[in-house]
């Protein structure tokens, strides 16, 4: 399992190579991985439905309690299935939509990486692993929204999405740390069994708010809903995948996952159901304001996300069943509708619904897909969306808190959603023919496969709810935290939800008939809407720019000396304050020095001081060299042969380096005034004195037990080495060393790049402008 997900990242890295081998068909080849995963996940279905939780454990860093454990229960299985199945169709679809696009390989790299991050997110058991995958989805989605990076709008939207979701990610991290501390575990499995302790913890509210901060931003809940419609700048396959079926549901997933641990309290119920309902109405309302087909769909996604949050807030068993059904239904129809939108855009050359009409003759298959999916969106019998909506209304009706208010809002949202469904499914295909920028015809098979399958599933699951019933109940069980025993049915008889559905159908169609008038009326609200959360976002961004400009002018004034003096004075001031007032300063100055050691120490000081006062570069460097060799000697005298050798070798290589560079550099010059020099001497002596006192305090203070005893004792038995220093470097602390050689490699590459860039630039400039020496400018 872990191998499949991590292997997916490797596959993403090889996407450009696959493109060289398979050309346009690379997407199909890459779709094999999610397809295989989906099949495997289907294979796990029976045991998960039976109530088992499958655990795949791998101890990644046991020392830090970080494991890469994957957890497969109803909730994560539903998500993983949606991600992999829709992922297959999106990969196939993208091959048609972006056919011939020069950056198709880059698209596949990021899309597959995203897919795997999303899978990791819903499968991870460890909070840290989950957070890493969470952030990876933010980053990959940033790259996907900004895929058309030549378009400034796309770049702006991508950045907005990134700022909002990553800002939420920070809150999430704080929340996760509090959660782990309160529940005394980093494992989700264990945390959800400690619900009572968590709910009574004193940090419950701040923890909940932080976690919801992450979930609300990711899942575009009010007031963070504005980034999602803007993210429609992404290519349509991305919108179909990220902004309907997967990424935006990450926040929903998090809330559902934590429901057994944190749910059921007063604050949980109030916050989630109110904000969810508000998001739901806002989304449905704004969907009708726009004529861009993707905008309409995006706002209806906001509506759906709000509904899901509200259902989690209500939290009754009924609501959780509704949650699982609605989630599945939404992913199916919204994926299909976005792909239809992509076909329309691809074949007609416009995204404006008002500019389309009468396309049913040109694109009959697309039309059927659109109508079927939209029926599910509108919640009309016999679609899965209908079951979802009925269950939703039913559970709102029975909600313990605020059910009157929530019911009103749900009805309003249902009416407007109905109208939006009619707009996307009927407008483009019926009515009189309108000429579009491109002469439309049916989309290619690769693009029709996805919407056709997803729309068929919406219908099939509606007609035969018993097919999905077990999976839905397993999902509801994981959200509930205990087994849910129920089943889905299409027909519940004539009851209040059905009547409400009929009302919403009638009123929704009425709005659809008078859509133009409705939009005009809505347009009058624009001045108010323009002062909404998005305006706050821009205000905040501008504020950040203004503040950072101000503080840059104040603090970053460009003089290194000023930074250094300021830093050092603060350091000396604070440390000496702490030393004097917080610490019983006992300095042990008993000396045990032998003559040759004193000589070496004296030479060191002489070298350093000489380096400062010499007026020639060579003399200064020689003096530093002397000091370096004395340090090497000190290492050898005091039991550090490895250090002595290393220091000696580095001194030699430093001489070579400086010979090559130093004499290309200017001679020493006296640039400062005597007063400045006095000031610098004072700062230098103060810092040096502080260091001396610090060392004395350290060596005379209480000795804490050394952590290296373990290493000394285990060097031979565990590390099979007699040189303990080397065993530490390559075995006990090898991860540190790995980081260090990366630093070294970076420094070398930096040196190479600086020198190389120079040579190329110089040659190119000479070729371009043989007579002018513009480089001096």
């Amino acid at each position: 399992m872990q191998l499949a997900v991590l292997g997916g990242f490797v596959l993403a890295a090889f996407a450009p190579l696959l493109h060289r081998w398979f050309g346009e068909r690379a997407g199909l080849v890459m779709a094999i991985l999610p397809a295989g995963l989906a099949l495997w996940l289907f294979g796990q279905l029976p045991s998960v439905v039976a109530g088992d939780t499958l655990v795949f454990e791998y101890a990644w860093m046991p020392g830090l309690d970080i494991t890469l454990t994957f957890l497969l229960d109803g909730l994560s299985l539903l998500f993983a299935l949606l991600i992999s199945v829709i992922g297959v169709f999106v990969l196939v679809y993208a091959g048609g939509y972006l056919k011939g696009h020069q950056d198709l390989a880059r698209f596949h790299v990021v899309l597959v990486a995203f897919m795997m991050s999303m899978l990791g997110l819903v499968l991870a058991d460890n909070l840290v692993a989950m957070f890493v995958f969470w952030e990876l989805t933010s980053i990959t989605s940033y790259l996907l929204i900004g895929f058309n990076h030549n378009d400034p709008e796309a770049r702006k939207s991508a950045l907005q999405g990134l700022f909002v979701t990553v800002g939420g990610g920070m809150a999430l991290m704080a929340g996760l740390v509090m959660l782990a501390n309160a529940g005394n575990s980093w494992s989700l499995q264990e945390l959800i069994t400690r619900g009572d302790a968590l709910r009574q913890h004193e940090l419950y509210l701040p923890m909940l708010l932080c976690l919801l901060g992450g979930a609300f931003t990711k899942s575009a809940q009010f007031p963070f809903h504005f980034w999602l419609p803007n993210a429609m700048a992404a290519p349509t396959p991305v919108s179909a995948y990220l902004h309907s079926a997967t990424m935006v549901k990450a926040g929903i997933y998090l809330m559902a996952r934590l429901h057994p641990a944190l749910g059921g309290t007063e604050s949980w119920t109030l916050i989630l159901s109110l904000f969810g309902a508000l998001t739901m109405v806002t989304g449905a309302f704004l969907a009708l304001r726009h004529t861009g087909i993707k905008q309409v769909l995006a706002y209806s996604t906001v509506m759906a996300l709000g509904t899901l949050t509200m259902l989690l807030g209500i939290g009754t068993q009924e609501a959780l069943i509704a949650f699982a059904t609605f989630l599945l239904a939404h992913s199916l129809y919204k994926g299909a509708l976005f792909m239809v939108a992509g076909i329309l855009d691809h074949e007609t050359g416009t995204k404006d619904i008002a500019a389309m009409g009468g396309l049913r003759k040109a694109m009959p298959i697309t039309m059927v897909c659109a109508v079927v999916a939209a029926l599910s969106l509108g919640g009309i019998i016999p679609m899965l969306g209908f079951i979802g909506k009925e269950l939703m209304l039913e559970s709102v009706l029975h909600a313990e808190r605020l059910n009157g208010l929530l019911l009103m809002m749900s009805l309003a949202a249902a009416i407007m959603t109905m109208a939006a469904a009619a707009i996307v499914a009927l407008r483009p295909f019926f009515g009189s023919w309108k000429d579009t920028p491109r002469s439309p015809h049916e989309g290619p098979v690769s693009m029709l496969a996805g919407p056709a399958t997803l729309a068929t599933l919406s219908l099939l699951f509606g007609l035969l709810p018993s097919w999905v019933s077990p999976l839905v109940m397993a999902t509801a069980s994981s959200v509930e935290g205990s087994a849910v025993d129920s089943y889905l049915a299409l027909w519940h008889g004539v009851n209040l939800p059905l009547i409400l559905s009929l009302i919403s159908l009638a009123v929704g169609l009425l709005i659809y008939r008078h859509w133009e008038r409705w939009r005009d009326w809505q347009g009058r609200l624009d001045p108010i809407l323009n002062r909404g959360p998005e305006a706050c976002y821009f205000l905040l961004m501008n504020l950040i720019v203004v503040v950072s400009e101000w503080q840059t002018r104040m603090l970053q004034n460009g003089y290194i000396r000023n930074y250094l003096v300021m830093t050092l004075l603060v350091l000396v001031g604070l440390t000496s304050h702490a030393l004097v007032y917080r610490h019983d300063l006992v300095l042990d100055v008993s000396l045990d020095v032998r003559a040759h050691e004193a000589l070496v120490a004296g030479l060191m000081v002489a070298g350093a001081v000489t380096a400062c006062i010499m007026r020639s570069r060579l003399a200064s460097v020689a003096a530093v060299g002397t000091m370096g060799f004395c340090i090497a000697l000190t290492f050898v005298l005091f039991s550090a042969p490895d250090l002595g050798i290393t220091q000696m070798l580095v001194e030699t290589l430093t001489v070579i380096l400086l010979i090559l560079v130093l004499f290309r550099l200017p001679r020493f010059a006296t640039l400062s005034t005597p007063l400045e020099r006095v000031r610098d001497v004072v700062v230098a002596l103060a810092t040096g004195g502080l260091i001396t006192v610090l060392i004395l305090a350290v060596i005379s203070g209480e000795q804490l037990p050394s952590i290296s005893d373990y290493m000394v004792a285990n060097s031979v038995p565990e590390g099979h080495g007699h040189n303990i220093v080397n065993v530490i470097l390559v075995d006990f602390r090898a991860l540190d060393t790995l980081g260090e050689i990366f630093v070294l490699a970076l420094a070398a590459i930096g040196v190479y790049a600086m020198l190389r860039f120079h040579a190329d630039e110089y040659d190119a400039a000479k070729q371009r402008l043989p007579h002018e020496e513009y480089l001096d400018g």
Binding site: L649, L653, N726, V730
Partner: protein
């Protein structure tokens, strides 16, 4: 600036260079039990090539090195990362050391050794990258 050295330097470099390289390998392999190891051995080897560079110039050194020093850096980092993986096979934590005994010569081979060779190559490659780039860049 660096073209060729004096006669003494040339002769010394020709004689010393193989010895230095051999010594660096010796330091590398014995590093787990005696003073030495990847860092020190890498520095010794870098010193050897630098000496050769000063004695015989850039072209001769390049010919002798055969590969670009940057490739050495890459290979070293690759070996370093590679040595983290075998622990997966035995279901142990990332980077846990693995030891194998090669039967015929009774030599102990291990992931820490692979890692140390990686360190050796990165140190050697980094120093040489910097030195070669600097010599190349010299306008003289």
């Amino acid at each position: 600036m660096v073209k060729s050295g004096t006669l003494i330097l040339s002769v010394a470099a020709r004689l010393l260079m193989p010895l230095q390289l051999l010594f660096s390998l010796f330091l590398l392999l014995r590093g787990h039990d005696e003073p030495g190891g990847g860092f020190i051995a890498g520095l010794v080897a870098a010193g050897a090539f630098a000496l050769y560079l000063f004695a015989y110039g850039l072209t001769a050194t390049r010919a002798m090195l055969r590969v670009s020093p940057r490739d050495l850096v890459g290979l070293g980092l690759f070996l370093g990362v590679l040595s983290t993986l075998p622990a997966w096979w035995n279901d142990q934590a990332f980077f846990t050391a693995q030891w194998w005994t090669i039967p015929l010569i009774d030599y102990k081979f291990s992931t820490p050794l692979i890692f140390d060779i990686g360190v050796y190559l990165v140190v050697l490659g980094s120093v040489l990258t910097a030195v070669v780039a600097l010599v190349e860049n010299d306008p003289d």
